[in-house]
């Protein structure tokens, strides 16, 4: 028996070694291909997409943060080949399983990083720039990358520093006026009630209450709730809830740019009382502050929840997208629809905050041998056509969602109908490489046709019944919050205060919401306000106000 085991072990080991070798062979093959590509393209010519094909393959390695390296490699394949064949550009996307922040710090410390890094937030980008690891880019703009400036338009200057230097470019920038968050309601049950109109949170609550009375348990006899949530509630629910009272991402912003945190506003008290009312009536899932997304999703998918306040897509993901697959007799109306609620006193509901500058930054590092060439690629890919290629994936092949022939852009109808009917298989999007190589592309409405967007599935919103309904319901709840996305740098002592306040806020708000009487809820709210102000909330407000006012002056 021992011999047998040793034999097996030896076999396993030898085979592991061999498979290790075969892997390195694979990468060699890839290198060979790039060589042939290099040789065949002798001279620079303009391809059908308007890109001047370089005579030498332009290879760009970029680190893009934390992701699953296997799936990224898999999803890059077709797109990488396409760009190599048609553009003679080889993009290598590098991702690691390690937390991005940690990996970035290790890269900085060890000096081992690629020529482009994307997916940085403002603070991370600032760190790299401050240490002189990022290449100044404005010098290339006029020479090789005028499109970057013209596409970004007014936003361009918001990326320049005091010395008018440009170090970081945005990705996923621009404004796509589609809803991001809302109130939600179970559609078939609402119709069953006669589809009663509602406007205010109070009316929304009344309807949910009646709905819960009509469906006190799900089919398995488990108790139902009108609303639930998952932690942290102050991130997942509160900003949308506060938006119903007209606050912007949890802040009340005056015309002069003064920022007031919601706990220091009368609206804050009202919304806390509202949630407390829901809780006291047994309509709020008592585990709301404890649920993880998976816990919440399990309850939601088991048809135990009738409404939601927060991101638009979560009720799709946990609702009909599950039912569709799991219930044989699912009907199209068994779903959640996105609706708005606006407090009577608020001017407008501000549910979706748009950030035109995008949340992610791309830098070219000092490892780049020829930043100018990389800028040339950015100059192409930031154009409307470039954005289409990156966003929609490889055109003109079997799995493509779009075709490009003689300058004409067309949708592949079968795929389009799939999206409209909700039968589209999104793994197809991965195969054609949608979004894998996003570096500087915008997600806003494209300038050339005034309607297309980077997100493939958001292109048919007018034709897709439910998306259309959502957009109509929520169209005046979207607002521009570009000035309000303010990050406190980690080395500022205020960052510590900020973390403390976030934690206290969640703890104390949970206490106030789950108070047994309205008076207790109010006392809880006051306690929260005093404690937070004691912990330095006013300093945060002052910091935000200052930054907001600076931006008002300089960016507009």
């Amino acid at each position: 028996m021992k011999k047998g085991m040793i034999l097996t072990l030896v076999c396993v080991l030898v085979w592991t070694m061999l498979s290790g070798c075969s892997k390195s062979n694979e990468s060699e093959v890839a290198v060979d291909q790039s060589k042939t590509a290099q040789e065949t393209d002798g001279e620079e010519k303009i391809n059908e997409y308007g890109w001047a094909v370089p005579s030498k393959t332009l290879e760009i390695n970029f680190y893009a943060g934390q992701d699953n390296p296997e799936t990224v490699k898999e999803n890059s394949k077709l797109m990488q080949q396409f760009l190599l064949d048609k553009f003679n550009v080889k993009l290598n996307k590098i991702v690691y399983d390690v937390d991005m922040n940690e990996k970035l710090n290790l890269m900085l410390a060890s000096g081992d990083y690629p020529e482009v890094i994307t997916g940085l937030n403002d603070e991370q980008a600032a760190k790299w720039i401050a240490q002189g690891k990022a290449v100044e880019l404005s010098q290339y703009i006029d020479k090789v990358a005028p499109n970057v400036k013209s596409q970004l338009g007014d936003l361009y200057k918001s990326f320049l520093n005091d010395k008018k230097e440009l170090y970081a470019l945005p990705s996923y920038w621009g404004v796509l006026p589609i809803p991001g968050a809302s109130a939600h309601i179970r559609y078939d049950w609402w119709k069953e009630m006669g589809a009663p109109e509602f406007e205010t949170p109070e009316e929304y609550y009344q309807i949910l209450k009646k709905m819960q009375e009509a469906h006190p348990t799900n089919s398995k006899g488990e108790k139902t709730y009108a609303l639930s949530g998952y932690s942290p509630m102050i991130k997942n629910v509160l900003p949308t809830l506060a938006g119903m009272w007209g606050l912007e991402a949890g802040y009340k912003i005056d015309a002069d740019g003064t920022n007031t945190h919601w706990v220091n506003t009368p609206e804050g008290l009202e919304l806390t009382k509202f949630m407390n009312q829901v809780y006291r009536d047994g309509m709020l899932d008592p585990d709301s502050f404890i649920n993880t997304f998976d816990d919440w999703k399990a309850k939601f998918s088991a048809e135990r929840i009738m409404g939601h306040i927060g991101s638009w897509w979560v009720t799709w993901n946990a609702g009909h997208e599950v039912w569709q697959k799991a219930n044989k007799d699912w009907t199209d109306e068994q779903r959640f629809i996105q609706v708005q609620a606006k407090s009577a006193n608020a001017e407008s509901a501000k549910l979706t905050a748009l950030n035109a500058r995008g949340s992610y930054r791309t830098i070219i590092t000092d490892k780049a041998k020829n930043p100018e060439d990389i800028m040339k690629w950015f100059n192409f890919s930031i154009t409307d056509l470039g954005t289409r290629i990156i966003g929609w994936g490889v055109p003109n092949i079997e799995q493509s969602v779009w075709t490009y022939k003689d300058g004409k852009i067309e949708w592949v109808d079968a795929m389009k109908q799939g999206v409209i009917n909700g039968t589209y298989d999104f793994t197809n999007s991965d195969k054609v490489g949608q979004g894998v190589f996003t570096l500087v592309e915008g997600i806003g409405t494209m300038k050339d046709d005034g309607k297309s967007t980077f997100w493939y599935d958001q292109n048919f919103n007018d034709e897709a019944e439910w998306k259309k309904l959502m957009n109509e319901n929520l169209k005046d709840t979207i607002y521009d919050n570009t000035l309000g996305v303010i990050q406190i740098p980690g080395n500022d002592p205020l960052a510590v205060t900020n973390t403390q306040i976030d934690e206290l806020l969640e703890t104390l708000w949970a206490k106030a919401v789950t108070a047994k009487t309205e008076a207790d809820a109010e006392a809880g709210f006051n306690e929260m306000r005093d404690k937070l102000n004691g912990a330095g909330l006013h300093d945060i407000e002052a910091y935000r106000t200052k930054e907001y006012q600076r931006r008002m002056k300089e960016w507009k």
Binding site: G20, D67, N317, K325, F426
Partner: protein, 298 residues
């Protein structure tokens, strides 16, 4: 077993009965998560999202396992994991054992100094960045060696092994020493055979540690050529974690859409955990009997 020549008393029998009952209850509590994971992994993916699966699958499906075994890298991951456990454990156990032996030799002047030298490493370390820089300078990044060289000696294991060896009668090694045997010979020929139980238990610790390790894999071998099996499981869990950082709603939607379902996560846990569970039964035979020190003592 040894008591067989005496008839067990009534009290002894009651004790046995209670003991068995306690063990059964305990076993159930310990086994439940596995039963739960197994049930989940054998359930249909979309259905499992609705929760409420405890002991048996609601909609039976082996899709998760099919999907898992279609991944051809998984097998090479298994091979690398086994390689790591075999190389890492054997080197660590023998070297740490040697160290433990040395620090228990009575009268050796460096004994206390060496113990302290290692003890301090249990509490003081340079942190992530200096360690990473060291591995890089030593050329261990993206090699297999990073799995066993940095874990060659372990202060905690050393203390445990030493505490066992301390209880061995001194006469054991003393007589060999008088016969002129070298220390290495004494270690292999005398100390090792009588310390089998502690070597076995450290082997269990070390192999489980090596099998479960994932952070050093993704940190030092991030090019993926030496991915261990454990990394495939971590990847699924970390994937979920990374999603919470996504700021853009549309991006979040497209990522959540592709997330591996609970059932796949459960199936991966099963596949990754099952092989290593058998390491304990494998070493268990060295835990019982076989040691009669009296013979050598005399």
């Amino acid at each position: 077993m040894e008591q067989s020549f005496l008839k067990p008393s009534f009290g002894s029998r009651v004790f046995d009965l209670c003991n068995v009952v306690v063990m059964l209850v305990l076993s159930f509590a310990m086994l439940y998560p596995f039963i739960n994971l197994l049930a989940l992994s054998l359930n249909d993916g979309a259905d499992a999202a609705r929760g409420g699966i405890y002991f048996v699958p609601r909609q039976f499906s082996v899709d998760s396992y099919m999907l898992l075994f279609q991944n051809k890298h998984l097998l090479s991951g298994l091979g690398i994991s086994i390689l790591r456990v075999v190389v890492g454990t054997s080197t660590c156990v023998f070297m740490t054992g040697l160290l433990a032996y040395i620090v228990t030799i009575r009268g050796f002047s460096g004994r206390k100094m060496i113990r302290l030298l290692f003890l301090f490493t249990m509490y003081f370390g340079g942190g992530l960045i200096p360690t990473y820089m060291l591995m890089m300078k030593l050329g261990l990044i993206n090699t297999f060696h990073v799995y066993w060289i940095p874990s060659l000696l372990n202060a905690y294991y050393m203390l445990i092994m030493a505490s066992y060896m301390q209880n061995l009668p001194e006469s054991l090694s003393e007589s060999a020493r008088i016969d002129g045997a070298g220390e290495l010979l004494i270690y292999f020929r005398i100390i090792f055979p009588v310390s089998l139980p502690v070597f076995a238990s450290i082997a269990v610790f070390s192999s489980v540690g090596h099998w479960n390790a994932w952070f050093d894999v993704i940190l030092y071998n991030s090019n993926g050529h030496w991915d261990t099996l454990q990394v495939y499981l971590r990847r699924l869990l970390l994937e979920v974690e990374a999603l919470q950082q996504v700021a853009d709603q549309q991006l979040a939607y497209s990522k959540y859409r592709n997330i591996s379902p609970l059932t796949l996560r459960a199936a991966t846990s099963m596949v990754v955990t099952l092989p290593i569970i058998f390491v304990y039964p494998f070493f268990q035979k060295y835990f019982v009997g076989g040691i009669t020190l009296g013979a050598v003592k005399g």
